[in-house]
Symmetry: C2
Subunit: 444 residues, 2 copies
Amino acid sequence: MTINQVTHPTRSDRRHRVVVIGAGFGGLAVARGLRDEAVDVTLIDANNFHTFQPLVYQVATAGLAVDDIAHATRGVFHHQHNVDVLMARVTEIDLERREVHTTAGVSVDYDSLVIAVGAVSHDFGTPGVASNAMDLKTLDDAVALRNHVLERFEAATANPSTIDDGQLNVVICGGGPTGVELAGAFSELFGRVLAKDFPHLDVERCRIVVVEGSDRLLGKFSEQSSARARIALGKRGVEVMTDVKVRSIEPAEVHLSNGSTLRAQTIVWAAGVRGHPLAETLGVPLARDGRIIVDPDLSVPGHPEVFAIGDISVNPRSPLPQLALPAVQGGKHTARQIGRRLAGRATEPFAYRDLGTMATIGRHDAVAEFPNGVRLAGVPGWIAWLGLHVVRLMGFRNRANVLVNWFWNYATYDRASRLLSESAASTASNPTVVRVEVAEGRAA
Amino acid sequence: MTINQVTHPTRSDRRHRVVVIGAGFGGLAVARGLRDEAVDVTLIDANNFHTFQPLVYQVATAGLAVDDIAHATRGVFHHQHNVDVLMARVTEIDLERREVHTTAGVSVDYDSLVIAVGAVSHDFGTPGVASNAMDLKTLDDAVALRNHVLERFEAATANPSTIDDGQLNVVICGGGPTGVELAGAFSELFGRVLAKDFPHLDVERCRIVVVEGSDRLLGKFSEQSSARARIALGKRGVEVMTDVKVRSIEPAEVHLSNGSTLRAQTIVWAAGVRGHPLAETLGVPLARDGRIIVDPDLSVPGHPEVFAIGDISVNPRSPLPQLALPAVQGGKHTARQIGRRLAGRATEPFAYRDLGTMATIGRHDAVAEFPNGVRLAGVPGWIAWLGLHVVRLMGFRNRANVLVNWFWNYATYDRASRLLSESAASTASNPTVVRVEVAEGRAA
């Protein structure tokens, strides 16, 4: 099967066709789970790689290289011949005609569809977020954030007085796992690496501030872990503000609900996510946060041939954490259900098996909570976190490189990925692809 | 010393100031060589990293990641406190006022100056090179070339008929080490990796062509090594044309002196280099290829306080190969001469110690020639090449990662760095910096 044949299918002489949209944790799990089924799978993603999302913040803080946490999607399926990969953005899903429209100049029809396009950052209507704050969802976001911070330091060498104007300050809006992990990693990058890179700058004067609207960090964790995280960040010089909301963001200024203003050239929005806007093209009921409401078997109501998994979907009767693991388990479940439907059997409800949650605060420190009630913190939590993330990174090569990089960072306090190029070392130079990005927003 | 103080020097109460322009092999060697001298060094480069130039072609062919061959310049000098790094482009050198003008909003004055800005690609007036061919000098060039080739493959999946229009063909203009190494690496990338990534494309129909104007490849090597390289490339499916000149390049078309035309969507210009255009601002005699003519001690005639080293300079009485080693040795020599001048002693002529040259043709195959007459080819040449390049890459981390990546590529025929992002994951997002690039051309 080649992609251009997809546009001219002869329905009578072909196998059951599964289209999977999104090559994140959920989409990959579906495609892999279908390896022994008599189906042809087309996996569509706007990038040609899978991103190991839980470590994106490490790229933003120069601890890992882009290639460490990205894996070429086509390479994943070298030995699985029923999967085709299409690098394209999906512009619309036509549930009635069972067609997926893409920017690659082809439409793809399906017998079964799996929507696994994930979440996007959500500003909850806060003024100024889109234009004055940076996101940290994609690998591109991470590279842009890393470069932005490094450039602020380079600019300050020419004019150190700008430090008092917030040149080197970082404000992170949102005290969930992303905000906490990012704040801890920035604190280490500043104190351990950039202070040495820029010995003539008074890096001590940089502020790293986390602003959280609720009364504690890591709201999904226990109060004990929240308190742990706050103390650990404080020891690292991170200022934590709770019960404070972001009212609006102006260039280099964050206005807070307590009437005060934080000055910072680097403002990161990590306060929330919503379903990918592709969901809006479906014409099916969505939750208030834009996620597709699914039945217990993860299918879309009224469309048993369509499944939505991971961060793009929600079963209101049993909402799941928006993490990698529910997406992976949902993907495996969905592959099984597609097999069951092919065999004429009824689908089963999805049962999520909780394996725990973790957030790292920095060198030697993380919080981890397991469903049996075990809670780890400090060094044991950090070792659990490190082991799990290295093991879960796909492929020997990535694992080995990540280990080398982490060992190097650990042993030397260095960060080797702090590279800034004068010109734009774009990872995409195809004008068509770039134009799509500009016109339509973020990656599928 | 901070950079902004540089603009307001008090000449009476400061140490001898050395300005080094360029953080390549030569510039780094000078700065390191001055570690025990009573001087203050300002090292200026448009990027914040050093590029391991001999392996740039490996990034272009997805064998290594960007971070594998780049090293943060500031990190090199964490323990050498008499070196300041300034990330800026040099726009002009004023030899009379002993000032260097930069885009960082500061001018830097010097007592000694070292110009180590290297070479840029040279089209020898061939029409269409600038607009229709790609360079392979910088890391940005390499990323752009890699993405361009991968995008051609992605585009071909939607429309395989374009293969006959040269969609997947590569024409490399120039059969020197860069052209030979690039052709060999592309051949492996196509045959071993992309053929598996794109099982429905007829990758066998891709042509990789090297066009060389003289009568043999690797003109600086022995005829024996040239013949070796030609045979080895031929076995890998690379077409080699010698005694053929490129007349002009149009979009996706290379017109040759023998009247024929090669169709290719990917055209690489590796046919020659010239001195960096910064040399033209000096008002001193230049060689025909734009390099600064230097005295035997590598100083600029009439300016004993100014040295030019590496690819930007030439001593017409003993021209040197444009490789890393002459730059490194020239840098060490220059650091010693600056020390001698400070001590009131006469400078010494530079004596290049030839340690040999190598070019790799691919997996298990390289040619290496040593000044004692020893020539290696095939597996022994490849092992010599591999060992030397890994050892010479700066820093444990880079070495270890490169080893992991190479071992992975070797064992699996995989290439992990073939990542394409939908949007522009620029390594530079500062509009000021990007504007400079657009207005003035390539990196210092």
